[in-house]
């Protein structure tokens, strides 16, 4: 062992030995809730995304996008959005996210995701959104969208293409979707948040 090695080892011993008495290395405690700021975001509808917007982000492979599915592991295993990850609501307190990540929260009906949005904003995360209508909105608007007969052709084409990209079955007017897709969608719709 050279003198340099001994010096470095000695420095490590000193730094390691004093660490338990140094306190927490976290300089910034979790940010408090700035109610005025959050209320403004809510009023301006900057707190959520629609299912169509989320589908577009996934299709375009938006950089830093993370879709956090707050439902139970069983519900997640049964059906989940592409590229989403299952994360229990309780795990949000200890999960850290990169500052440039865009976080989209998803629950069955939307209520848990909206609550989680408040938690994450209170923890200092900035780019956080929730899917307003939850999984049901995804099923209704992406997997089984009803295209109004009088909607502009380009809108119908765009939504149809987006739906088919995710394996959905778009239909026009009030017609019911195809039986197979309709059954699976109906089964999932029974769930709350």
């Amino acid at each position: 062992m050279t003198p340099l090695h001994r010096t470095l080892a000695g420095a490590a011993v000193v730094l390691g030995a004093f660490a338990p008495f140094a306190g927490s290395p976290y300089r910034t405690p979790p940010a408090g809730i700035d109610i005025r700021s959050l209320a403004t975001e809510v009023a301006n509808e900057e707190d959520h995304v629609t299912a169509i917007e989320l589908a577009t982000w996934i299709q375009e492979r938006k950089a830093g996008l993370r879709i956090l599915d707050l439902r139970t592991a069983e519900e997640f295993d049964e059906y989940h959005l592409p590229h989403s990850e299952n994360l229990p609501l309780e795990a949000l307190a200890t999960t850290r996210f990169a500052p440039d990540e865009t976080l989209v929260l998803l629950s069955g009906g939307g209520a848990h995701a909206a609550q989680a949005w408040v938690f994450l904003r209170a923890l200092g995360n900035r780019h956080v959104f929730f899917l307003r209508g939850g999984l049901q909105e995804w099923l209704d608007d992406v997997m089984s969208p009803t295209l109004a007969a009088d909607a502009p052709p380009e809108t119908k084409a765009r939504v149809s293409a987006l739906s088919r990209y995710f394996g959905g079955v778009p239909h026009t007017g009030t017609a019911l979707p195809e039986p197979a897709a309709a059954n699976s969608v109906t089964a999932l719709r029974r769930r709350g948040c």
């Binding site: 062992m1 011993v13 140094a22 290395p25 300089r27 989940h80």
Partner: protein, 209 residues
């Protein structure tokens, strides 16, 4: 100004290239582009890899802790990757098997390939073929890929110990590991005992009838 610094996408790419070249150059200078040196790890004849890795872990851990404590580094803004237990265990096993078979890990295989070593080129090609095949077969794998999410875990949270205590414990383990590695290497380098050499030089005489 405090760290970590946030760079634009282009600046981050440039920084990645510069850091990557520096990392590769350092690996090559340390001799880690040679599979023989890395294989020595598994035969306990050359523990350079162990010492390099634990030096890096120890330096980063002590640096992050004390820089955070002194207010230079904002640890709450440092990205900690999430844990997906089953896929990461399987990935670790595949990584370990590849490391043992090739005698090279991803970084050192790039270094070995860049210096024209045949085994490095083979490992490099195999690695990127594996990445390509995994990407092409991702759809059926995705269910497993997304399974057993545990959120973001750190040792202080898992062990329910204060951050500083974990730092002290790991420092002790690392230093004990260095001492153990030095002892093993010294044993491997030690000359044969004198009586053993004499025994090989003077063949045993057969007893006369």
């Amino acid at each position: 100004m405090s760290a970590p610094l946030f760079l634009s996408d282009h600046a981050a790419l440039i920084a990645a290239v510069v850091i990557g070249i520096a990392f590769g150059w350092t690996l090559e200078r340390a001799g880690l582009g040679s599979a023989k040196k890395l294989a020595g790890q598994f035969y306990l004849t050359d523990l350079t890899v162990f010492k390099v890795m634990f030096s890096a872990i120890l330096t980063a851990m002590l640096g992050a802790f004390w820089l955070g404590r002194l207010g230079v580094l904002d640890l709450s803004r440092v990205y900690v990757p999430g844990t997906w237990l089953a896929p990461q265990l399987l990935g670790g096993a595949i990584f370990g098997a590849g490391f043992a078979i090739a005698g090279l890990c991803p970084g050192t295989s790039c270094v070995a390939a860049a210096t024209g070593r045949g085994d490095g080129l083979a490992a490099f090609t195999g690695m990127f073929t594996g990445i390509l095949v995994t990407g092409l077969a991702f759809a059926p794998l995705q269910r497993f890929y997304d399974s057993t999410s545990r959120g973001t875990l750190t040792l202080p949270e898992v062990l329910h110990l204060p951050y500083g205590t974990v730092v002290a414990l790991l420092t002790g383990i690392a230093l004990a590991g260095f001492a153990g590695a030095e002892w093993i290497e010294r044993r491997q380098r030690a000359p044969e005992p004198e009586h053993a050499r004499v025994a090989t030089l003077v063949p045993e005489q057969e007893p006369q009838a």
